[in-house]
Symmetry: C2
């Protein structure tokens, strides 16, 4: 496994792989890898000749007062995990390498899809994501790029960006990986103390309750949302950021459950904000 | 020469050329081709295995009240010229093909470079340009893309975008092509009546006067700008949009001529707005 920190060297290496006729799978991450990331790596390994994993805590997707400085990092451990996962190359650039002095180019997906859910409390977040992902696509030249369904809104926005800006690649969504007790894996789970960790189970529990209600025949979105909120509130420390049900294709409002809907949650436990979601099809 | 109107088919064809190890040169145009465009084609022909020319009058770079509807078009004549220029493929998509319903993805270069000169009167122009050029890069997969120095600010912004977003290609600037009497070639010259056509020569004449003043030793920007404006005003129909001298690397203000400067003009004759420029190095 090779590790690159230089944009030019990473790009040259990827160009060389392409010249040799190999397909490239890219797994963009912010590091501090867990089994969710490794599921992405396995999918990429299965689908492509070459697997590149990027590790970059992207400053421009963090707002003022967010956890950019505190975001957990462990490049040595990450490298070991990726080596075991038979990754071919790791791209771990510095901030200066990605955003040199005077940097001022941005890629943006506007509209409803970028204004709801996480965008409400993180207004600059998705512009930072689409910009860094565009850069990574140009540097690593993937045929396929792998993203977790855990960040449901992110993957929807990236799919729209790829389609609309005609990036020559396809996006693969990989399902959420959960702990045995149902907590969705996240690098941010490390922030939780034992009590918060227990309370955080309410995320998955409320999603499952909502799904059961829908499966029992309920189609009224307001009623399902009400159950969702009630269930979250059974956890005394939970502060709801959002608990929403939207059309899963474009995040438009729905009054009635039909087709595929996205049930999406953001809940704070102490200072730690966790997100989770579930796709339900009727 | 093949002509493509479908994004997917154009992209597939370009991918196939790359798989065969060929290099691609792209010449993005809005059509109504003149010798300026054909100079770009010749450069691309010299440098690359495959030459692709795109012809697309890009609606999102025109503001309200600008000449999008009136912009001259002649695809048959353009195709003939490109065939004679030994172009391999023409990409001439419809607006709907490039911007399907609900389109909302944009690429933007912010900062000083995007706020001066043409941006003053055309605030959305460069966002439209960088967006369509990004799309064309993703569709046509060029190793090199060719732009005219005539649109000096445009090529500077595109170079910054390519560098900062790490597009895997290089930009080639091609010098302005002029009529024998000095008028810079432009598809918009067709709007001029005989009298305006004569008056428009003041653009090149004022640039040359400014250059001669600099070459005679003048280094004070205000004095050179003053001569520039005086010269333009000798033409009774000329309405100055701007007549500026900036650092040629980033369009920052300069008080004294040193290194390379860009002398840039936008002048209206009747309803026709023409631009011209000159790079001067001391």
């Amino acid at each position: 496994m090779q590790t690159f920190t230089s944009v030019i060297k990473m790009q040259e290496w990827c160009k060389e792989q392409k010249r040799e006729g190999k397909t490239i799978g890219l797994v963009p991450t912010m590091g501090y890898l867990h089994q969710g990331h490794l599921a992405l790596v396995r999918e990429a390994r299965r689908a492509c000749d070459i697997v590149v994993v990027s590790i970059f805590v992207n400053p421009i997707q963090f707002g003022v007062g967010e956890d950019f400085e505190d975001y957990p990092r462990d490049l040595d451990k990450d490298s070991l995990l990726l080596e075991q996962g038979q990754v071919d190359a790791v791209f771990a650039p510095s901030i200066k390498e990605m955003y040199p002095l005077g940097y001022n180019s941005f890629v943006e997906v506007l509209g409803e899809i970028s204004q709801k859910l996480c965008a409400q409390s993180r207004p600059i977040h998705f512009r930072g994501v689409t910009t860094v992902v565009s850069k990574l696509f140009h540097i690593c030249l993937p045929d396929q790029a792998f993203f977790g369904q855990k960040d449901a809104q992110q993957v929807m926005i990236i799919e729209k960006m790829v389609r609309e800006l005609n990036f020559p690649l396809s996006i693969v969504r990989v399902p959420i990986v959960r702990e045995e007790d149902g907590l969705a894996l996240s690098s941010r789970n490390v922030y939780l103390d034992a009590e918060q960790r227990k309370q955080a189970l309410v995320l998955n529990r409320s999603l499952q309750a909502a799904r059961e209600l829908i499966q029992s025949g309920e189609r009224n979105v307001a009623k399902v949302k009400s159950l969702l909120e009630q269930t979250i509130k059974t956890s005394p420390g939970a502060i709801i950021g959002y608990a929403e049900i939207y059309d899963a294709s474009d995040l438009t409002e729905v009054e009635e459950i039909k087709g595929q809907v996205l049930i999406a949650l953001a809940v704070k436990f102490g200072t730690t904000r966790l997100i989770d979601n579930l796709l339900v099809e009727v």
